[in-house]
Symmetry: C2
């Protein structure tokens, strides 16, 4: 199948592209390299050394004999986007090409505007490009479980049947996103649903949990195929941060009461889910939503798991609770449905001791390169201007 991977140079886009290529698909990556630009601008870096995009695909060709095409371009530039659609005539588009960090979006007005413009208008351009140049193409769009917020009822997959005043309807699940980034994904979801209705596009919106892990069958084949591991306050997840803190003898920083519960998914399952979505496309005009995660944990649970596992390395990790830089409910009900991908055939890799061990081991291996100044949060949701260069330690 001809597959266009928007944002194919990123943490998820790269292993996704490798995986789809390994399965014999014709993969083209479209990426504006904005994630790398941020690192260059701010002095951030992936803890795992990563190659440039051209070196990556050359290494993959050398190892597998397979060719991934690369096109450097921006979804905001419609000419570039239209050209890649016209050249590739994709049968599926996997769309990772969004600013993906909540703290980034909350730095200040400029970063909020960038996030909502890049994500919402970029996706609007993608929708027009599909309709104009590849109208049968299946859009697989990365959303986030964070779109739902933390309602006091079960979270369903995209839609909910509501009974009200003696009548009923199945309606889009109400959203309560918690950052400009999360909001941009909600806006996208509404825009995509609309295009399925008016133009008959077919789309899968994947409300993904927090992804962990760096290893896939393909990335493990050669160090040059590695994907990134972020532990900094902007792009790092809590789990990565905990592993790095455990490896360096710093307290594991839990924000607020630590009872915030979210869905999680292994990188291997993420790339498999997207394959499952691609191989079972929706009908013309169908907009479907899958909740793409496999387990739920609270922050404290995650931290305690890292503390326990780090003992195997002789590390004496402990937890320190810190003021929450985010505005979010810290004690809440959370029960989210996630059956549709299982029904399609997903066999989850769960967050067990071996997985945690490999992540802590990765942090230990690269300990010399950890910049502790990047870890603690300086982006406060409550103010309109945060100075992320003024890092606390």
């Amino acid at each position: 199948m001809r597959i266009l991977v928007l944002g194919g140079d990123g943490y998820l886009g790269w292993p996704q592209s490798l995986y789809l290529s390994s399965k014999g698909h014709d993969v083209t990556i479209f990426d504006n390299l904005s994630r790398r630009h941020f690192d260059l601008e701010r002095g951030f870096n992936s803890l795992t050394p990563i190659e440039g995009i051209h070196e990556r695909v050359a290494a993959w060709h050398e190892i597998s004999g397979r060719q991934i095409e690369v096109c450097i371009g921006d979804t905001l530039e419609y000419g570039a986007l239209a050209a890649v659609f016209q050249n590739v005539r994709p049968e599926a588009v996997v769309h990772f090409a969004e600013q993906r960090s909540a703290p980034y979006s909350m730095i200040d007005r400029e970063h909020a505007v960038y996030t909502q413009t890049n994500n919402v208008i970029g996706t609007l351009n993608v929708l027009y490009a599909i309709k104009e140049f590849a109208s049968e193409c299946h859009l697989v769009k990365l959303g986030t479980m964070g779109e739902y917020g933390t309602p006091n009822i079960d979270i369903e997959e995209g839609f909910i049947e509501i009974h009200h005043n003696g009548r009923s309807d199945v309606l889009p699940y109400p959203k309560q996103p918690g950052s400009w980034y999360h909001l941009s994904k909600v806006h996208d979801s509404h825009n995509i649903m609309f295009c399925c209705k008016i133009w008959g596009l077919r789309a899968t919106d994947l409300n993904q949990g927090i992804v962990y892990g760096v290893e896939t069958e393909q990335t493990q084949q050669d160090a040059r195929l590695a994907t990134r591991f972020d532990y900094d306050q902007i792009y790092g997840t809590a789990l990565n941060r905990f592993c790095v803190q455990a490896a360096t003898g710093y307290p594991l920083s839990v924000y607020g009461e630590g009872q915030q519960t979210r869905g999680y998914i292994n990188l291997r399952d993420t790339i498999r889910c997207i394959e499952l979505a691609i191989t079972a496309p929706p009908a013309e005009g169908e907009y479907r939503v899958f909740n793409q995660f496999t387990e739920q944990f609270s922050l404290t649970q995650l931290a305690e798991m890292v503390v326990a596992q780090s003992k195997r390395f002789g590390l004496e990790a402990h937890i320190r609770y810190r003021p929450n830089p985010r505005v979010e409910v810290e004690q809440h009900y959370y029960n989210a449905s996630h059956t549709r991908l299982i029904e399609l055939g997903l066999e989850p890799h769960l967050l067990n001791g071996a997985v945690l061990e490999s992540l802590i081991d990765l942090a230990i291996q690269h300990r010399a390169h950890i910049d502790k100044n990047l870890i603690l949060p300086t982006v406060n949701w409550r103010v309109t201007k945060n100075d992320i260069d003024n890092l606390s330690s």
Copy 2:
């Protein structure tokens, strides 16, 4: 009270500014004149002659002795927006400064991008300006009843109590908007709700029905105070179109089956509603939603009312059903709550014979200036490029 009216030169913004000024408020208008620019660009015009913004406020000063300040600027230019906030230090902001036409937003990709950028990012800037320069200020934001779409259950005012799997919560009412324009308003609503939560802003989101009428106590005082009357395919409403068609002997064009039902409100009630919202502001951190309409009609009902009333002028109007250029359900349940503004004291002016007579009379008076080429729709929701200069007759 110091009140900033964003978009104060428009169809609603102008009579709103006059009304608030007449009540003794200090009114400042901020407007980028984009609506007038569109007329200049495309050869469209208001059927009622309207004065320039500077002539308008000079006439108002001459007639009332009151001063409305004018600042020409764009919500997308944060410097200009910040300056007016710093100068005025508003206690309330009434936000009309959005691209307000669904067909405009559906012309092509460029108009879709303009609509979502202008409306969503413009409002994002307004939110930052409030937080940074007038954090106690009450934002009164114009939304639309079109945000809800046509669900098969009663439409509530912004929020709905959902019972699901033995639990319950009050959640944002699910939205199913029907154009890029309507979508932009849904995006705004989510963004505004978020700012109330994280920054403690106070906001009233007015999901307004379709407004009709041009006369208010103030606009009637002098021809130079008139507000616009649009009958064209881009900015005109169905009711205005019907009146113009009746006045010129053309069939009243009803799209589709004509059973599409929407909420309607008289211009006099709109400006009163906004005053009611301003004088009873929400608490710090409160995001509230009012459905701002007073009656529901189907398209066919409206057309039949115009046919009946036009007989008083000796006109033999009749209805012609036409293919629907929009993608929308034409037979649907529709029952929307609208009690909160009534509770605050709104006394509705309903769409009776006298009101219809005055609108038809206005069309007859200005018959010589009606450009029939502007009336019939050339913007089709189903395609990505519409040529609005290629007007059908």
